[in-house]
């Protein structure tokens, strides 16, 4: 529990840590590529175009104006309301995830600017227990929307989550309701909410807040759906199409507005924000 003493630990900063290795091998094409070049290329393989995971920090950095980052998250961390223990006690999992990601929870919440336009931006960290939504993430999302109301700006949520956090049981499940309730307040204030779905946006996150955007944008390569492929196969024993729950599946079935390449995401968010902003100013 030592890390909890130093609150500074939990202030998210965007400074990059030094690289340990200079090279990495692309899992898709097998080529050795310069880590620095991958980084500069939005974590896309410069050789074959495969998308690697962006950490939440890298994602924030790739979207916002340089120097505009301000952490507006609530100073909260996960509790263990069910006293949950599977193969590991839940608090141990939290601690390990915090150490692994350097984040207090599975979400970064920032006030920032995108092409000079103010936004409140929430970004999920998949490496933190699968980006799962428990009480902390639910609260941060709500707080983010309330901040957007306070600052009279748009709210953007970048999802990367397997769904509700099992270890928090019904508390996690009901974050679906909580975030939906606050989302209605944002709508009442006529402030835009842009939902960005990335790999993966599934389960209780897809079945609540992520699907309630005024605009829903999927990053190319996203996985979007409610039930996992494995669950469907086991329950129903159905053959699933090759593009099942991919970005193309989602757009073909009318679930999202657009599929956007990673390198174009910032620009498209700006386009959407500008449209809403001009509408509001008049």
């Amino acid at each position: 529990m030592a890390i909890f003493k130093d609150k500074q630990y939990f202030r998210v900063k965007l400074d990059k840590e030094p690289d340990e290795a200079l090279w990495l091998r692309c899992k898709s094409c097998g080529e050795l590529v310069f880590k620095r070049r991958v980084r500069e290329n939005n974590n896309i393989c410069p050789n074959c175009g495969e998308y690697f995971f962006l950490t939440a920090k890298e994602r924030v950095e790739s979207l916002i104006d340089e120097g505009s980052f301000e952490d507006v998250s609530e100073p909260i961390v996960a509790d263990d309301p069910l006293d949950f223990q599977d193969e590991k006690p839940y608090p141990k999992r939290i601690e390990e995830a915090q150490e692994k990601t350097g984040l207090p929870s599975a979400m970064i919440l920032a006030s920032a600017k995108i092409e000079q336009m103010p936004v409140v931006l929430g970004v999920m960290e998949f490496q933190f227990i699968g980006g799962s939504m428990g009480s902390v993430m639910g609260e941060q999302i709500c707080h983010g929307m309330e901040e957007a109301i306070e600052r009279h700006c748009a709210f953007i949520l970048v999802s990367s989550s397997g769904g509700a956090r099992m270890q928090e049981g019904a508390f996690a499940l009901l974050q679906m309701v909580k975030t939906t309730a606050v989302r209605a307040r944002l709508a009442k204030e006529r402030l835009p909410y842009i939902s960005v779905m990335t790999y993966p946006t599934t389960g209780g996150v897809q079945a609540s807040i992520a699907s309630l955007g005024d605009i829903i944008i999927a990053e190319k390569g996203a996985l979007i759906g409610f039930a996992g492929r494995r669950v469907i196969k086991e329950t129903i024993a159905e053959e699933l199409p090759k593009n099942f729950q991919t970005d193309t599946f989602a757009i073909e079935h009318g679930m999202i507005d657009r599929v956007v390449k990673r390198e174009d995401l910032r620009g498209e968010l700006a386009t959407v924000l500008r449209f809403f902003q001009e509408g509001r100013d008049e």
């Binding site: 509790d79 599977d86 049981g169 939906t180 699907s211 669950v231």
Partner: protein, 316 residues
């Protein structure tokens, strides 16, 4: 400890003895009394120490009363209304008008099947997008004409299949939660059997959330949690206990408002008794909610859900 099946066997033996007892010249009444006493004692013991996994089994017991059983026993004049006006009529989620002692209500209920044919029709109570879209339609209707909503929850979960995903089951659940949390009429939800994850929450975001004593409400099935977290499907009992999915646990955690008592052995042992208890509590809650102005109702509903969650605030 004896399990439910042993008790059921004993019960049917007693019934056989009662039949025999009618035969002239045979007097088995003292044996029958003895066995009845034993049965009642065993049943009390079993249900006093009911493990969470046992409750899961009771919640899923195919003899358990389903939504239509309660609707028939509690309400009058149920008038079913079909279809989502877009793609179909989901038979796993029923909607309609009914009266509860002269109170007009809209009912939204998940319904399992009693036999294989009915289960094919009702998808074992697993709701598809058209079901949630029908629910949303009825929420809007209820709001327009100021009818309170009673929802009865009993689903293993939303239907996990290709058809569901093609029709955006996740988006349909999200939209249903959105409608329910914002509908400007009193809402009471009762989990009568299985409250399976997002598929249950979709019609559960109510002013009052009640649970029958042996119902369950869970973020994931014990089987799913065992497979993912314990990497072993065999460990369902541990998973069931860890998930805190029983009504008494959820009452203690402040997730639900009330536990509706069931007769010893479960609701299926006495539908009339269970239904009459539930009816009384439904009337109580609907009347209490109807005393509030719409503004009071909406703001207390908002506060309730805005406040859900447990976390630690860091010092400083």
């Amino acid at each position: 400890m004896s399990d439910e099946r042993t008790l059921d066997m004993l019960e049917s033996k007693i019934q056989e003895l009662r039949e025999l007892n009618k035969v002239e010249g045979l007097d088995l009444s003292s044996e029958i009394t003895k066995l009845e006493k034993k049965l009642s004692q065993m049943r009390s013991e079993l249900y006093a120490h009911l493990a969470d996994w046992e409750r899961v089994r009771i919640a899923r017991n195919p003899k358990r009363p389903y939504a239509l059983d309660y609707i028939g026993a509690i309400f009058t004049g149920f008038y079913e209304l079909h279809g989502d006006r877009m793609s179909g009529d989901d038979r796993a989620l029923l909607t309609g008008f009914a009266e509860l002692e002269n109170r007009k209500v809209v009912i939204i209920a998940q319904q399992k099947g009693r036999d294989p044919a009915e289960n094919r029709e009702r998808y074992f109570g697993m709701v598809r997008p058209q079901g949630y879209r029908k629910a949303i339609r009825m929420m809007h209707l209820a709001e327009r004409f100021r009818f309170p909503i009673v929802s009865l929850i009993d689903t293993p979960g939303a239907y996990p299949g290709l058809e569901s995903e093609e029709n955006n089951i996740g988006g349909a659940i999200a939209a249903s939660i959105d409608s329910m949390i914002n509908v400007a009429v009193p809402t009471v939800a009762v989990i009568i059997g299985e409250g399976g994850s997002g598929g249950a929450v979709a019609i559960g975001a109510a002013d009052r959330l009640l649970m029958l004593e042996n119902a369950i409400f869970s973020v994931i099935s014990p089987e799913g949690a065992a497979a993912i977290l314990w990497k072993s499907k065999e460990r369902v009992k541990e998973a069931a206990a860890a998930l805190k999915l029983t009504a008494p646990d959820l009452l203690e955690l402040g997730i639900i408002d009330e536990v509706i008592g069931e007769p010893l052995g479960g609701a299926h042992k006495d539908l009339q008794q269970t239904a009459s208890t539930l009816k009384g509590r439904l009337i109580h809650h609907l009347d209490e909610l109807s005393q509030k102005t719409i503004d009071e109702l909406m703001s207390s509903r908002y506060e309730r859900y805005r406040g859900i969650g447990r976390y630690t605030t860091l010092p400083g």
